[in-house]
Symmetry: C2
Amino acid sequence: MPPQGKRADMVTISDVARHAGVAVSTVSYVLSGKRAISATTRQRVLASIGELGYHPHAGARALASRRANVIAMVLPLRTGMHLPVLMQLVTAVVTTARQADHDVLLMTADEGPAGLRRIAASAMVDGVLVMDVEMSDARVPVLRELGRPSVLIGFPADPTGLTCVDLDFHLAGARCAEHLAQLGHTRIALLGAPPVVYQRDTGFAHRTRAGFLDAARRLRVAATARPCGESPDDARAAVKQLLDDDPGVTGVVVHNEAALAHIAAALPDAVSVVAICPDQVAVSAWPPLTAAVLIPAEELGRQAVSLLMRKLDGQPVPESTLLGPKAWFGAGASVDGRVTGS
Amino acid sequence: MPPQGKRADMVTISDVARHAGVAVSTVSYVLSGKRAISATTRQRVLASIGELGYHPHAGARALASRRANVIAMVLPLRTGMHLPVLMQLVTAVVTTARQADHDVLLMTADEGPAGLRRIAASAMVDGVLVMDVEMSDARVPVLRELGRPSVLIGFPADPTGLTCVDLDFHLAGARCAEHLAQLGHTRIALLGAPPVVYQRDTGFAHRTRAGFLDAARRLRVAATARPCGESPDDARAAVKQLLDDDPGVTGVVVHNEAALAHIAAALPDAVSVVAICPDQVAVSAWPPLTAAVLIPAEELGRQAVSLLMRKLDGQPVPESTLLGPKAWFGAGASVDGRVTGS
DNA sequence: GCCCCTCGTCGAAGCGCTTCGATAAGACTG
DNA sequence: CAGTCTTATCGAAGCGCTTCGACGAGGGGC
């Protein structure tokens, strides 16, 4: 008897070939479209495939074609990201990958560099998507060394030679200042991330602040920016200090999801509040926001995957892609601020 | 010239064999441990592996061994779960799977049954882990039909023939009643999930209520249970009605994360509040909780994976596994209520 | 000292798929 | 109508790994 008699439930390409009365290679070409196949033959083969419920064996395919049709998605250990946003991102990634006929392998960063090396060397994935990258991210040097196609969501300190996607925080900060200026405010302030985030060099915090201050200067409105802790007490303290320093402030930008509610509660009712935050946080904020700049999580995911797919196909892609922030106004209207390239 | 000259970066098993001066099969046996290999040979082979940086080609291995060493993790479309809990769960799953030398393929439920079938038929994964299962979950019949090893986190209406893991909500409800009784309360109440959840037949809500009421009866304390909406208004309304109906209530159990804060705020200070909720919600609740019964997310993930691994090894596993709730007391001490089998 | 084991190793046969010639059978030339 | 192209299909050679059977070399038992 043969080694282990083929498992009952496995339909192979040669079953299909026999059933359709053609050669194995013909079936393969029907599936891949890499050679011309006559319409009649194609029909017959496709019919057999449907009838037998054939699905190609992923391993065999990967072995022969040197393409696994799987990408890895690396989650950070401790995410700096708001979880609902992360989930949206993940969902968008998986969905988009599937549309490009790829599956997604999930890795947490805690396997470290060795994990990335293993995944790459075992030819298990064709490319890597790294989520929530920070300025000095330990995963970045490994990616460089690996030399596999990869795309980062977020920017490390030095993105040279990599492919990165992120919200354009500079633009987001500017939009907030512009919005407040348009409403007639002349003294505005930014309450940002906790001090530790600025110290940790987490790019986005700095970029937001710079965008905010630059725009304010350009628009000739008085603006200050300060960090803000995440706890209710920190939030209250930051607000108090802000009002002490400049009692004339009438518009505040909050770039700190965790503290948003407490900040908004501590501010006088007359002050307009604009936040940079995820959709869900914005709509459910109380007291209600004047406006918000939303994080385009889905688009981030989609863009990241399509960039990776292009890299897998050997096409050139821009090193950095910045997505325009979406604006949201208290009423509920939603306006797009479209993509900027690079 | 050969078809496509081997890619420079790929080290194969025969490279290792040559380098170590043994046969390919010997290397394989060193790696798998399926046949005895002399210590000296093993050393030599392992040394070569390290030196060359060899990692077996996942596809080739899957093809030859009929084992992909990958499991699929299916996320629900719209999760009934608290996101931080989901993340803990996911992390635990990935980590545990890696310890058992498996990787995790991420699927969202939106590919539907076809996705599961594809994944199974393509031999891409050896087993399936389904998260956050609900009473009448569309994914359950597919799993039955598929006949691949699978483990569910959460219980469907009819778990016959499946393998399910979940928190023991009945016990959790009982623990809450017991705790309040021990503190001397004689009139207690449960505020549960929104009415719609009870109607949707989502198992856990009913089980908690039953556990709570049973224990109260056993302990001879007066107890009532009622659903509670998630909005601040619903929460306030539920509390008002509760106090109207039974002004003598001194202890309340809350099994509703979303409404917890509003319920606690609306209750008189003198009332003790116990919650069934994730760790993070418990410690950050304000006003502070008297105690909490925590959802053992990590253990849930670990158990689910190890059950799946046992199934993959052909070992028998119990149909249902209920994990004992962890108790947490206001002070910060944390006590384990260990696993119950089945 | 002969036979039978066990132990450690090797060679070869696939696993299911892709891909590269090769090859008939027409479709055009001139 | 001989010669040259296409076009559609086939056969076979791997892809890198696991696993089965074979086999030589020692180690008892009697």
